[in-house]
């Protein structure tokens, strides 16, 4: 338990990169990138967790309660939404590539370049 969350984050990162490397379809590759991104959230939140802590939101908890680290949560939170728009940008690039070159296979694309 003491290292499992970190190791899971590492596994998600590796499997995501594996998908990126072996992908035959750019849309699939963008999906794999989304998976890889999520490993960072798992790692950040795992680092910020404290046993017996609760969320640092004091609307329904006493202000002296033991809380988990809010800083890493703030980092992960904004990155998730910004990451989604970047995913959109990449998908838009894929649509453009398909229009220009008629394929979304990365290997076929590199052949086009010669």
């Amino acid at each position: 338990m003491t290292v499992l969350p970190y190791l899971v984050a590492g596994w998600i990162f590796l499997i995501g990169v594996y998908g990126l490397v072996t992908s035959r379809d750019l849309i699939h590759a963008v999906g794999c990138l989304a998976v890889t991104q999520s490993s960072t959230y798992v790692l950040l939140l795992a680092v910020g967790y404290r046993n017996g802590g609760t969320a640092p939101v004091f609307a329904d908890a006493p202000t002296n309660s033991r809380v988990v680290d809010p800083v890493v949560q703030a980092l992960a939170l904004t990155d998730i939404v910004v990451g989604a728009t970047v995913t959109a940008l990449l998908l838009a690039l894929v649509v453009q590539l398909r229009k220009r070159h008629g394929t979304v296979d990365p290997d076929a694309l590199s052949e086009l370049k010669g």
Partner: protein
């Protein structure tokens, strides 16, 4: 007890991430990604991060898979045919 929940959620997330990568067809992948988004949201709730869970829920379970599906529909379509099943590539890769 919280630890048990966290461990189960972690294993689910790892499994979903693996399945999302190994499903090579983007349409299948979109549904697995949506599952991954929901399990990540559960994990974040167990890690006492409801804010992040909300964010992941909205983005991971709806917006990202939807955009992938729309891109697939666009990319697989041919003029006049409309459907995405109409253009099975004759010269499939490899």
């Amino acid at each position: 007890m919280t630890d048990v929940l966290i461990v189960v959620a972690l294993l689910l997330v790892a499994g979903a991430a693996t399945a999302a990568v190994l499903n090579r067809d983007p349409v299948r992948q979109a549904l697995v990604l949506s599952f991954l988004g929901l399990t990540l949201a559960l994990l974040f709730t167990f890690l006492q991060a409801p804010d992040v869970a909300l964010s992941q829920l909205a983005v991971g379970s709806a917006v990202t898979p939807l955009m992938i599906l729309l891109t697939v529909r666009k990319v697989r379509r041919r003029p006049g045919s409309g459907g995405d099943g109409a253009d099975k590539p004759a010269g499939r890769e490899r």
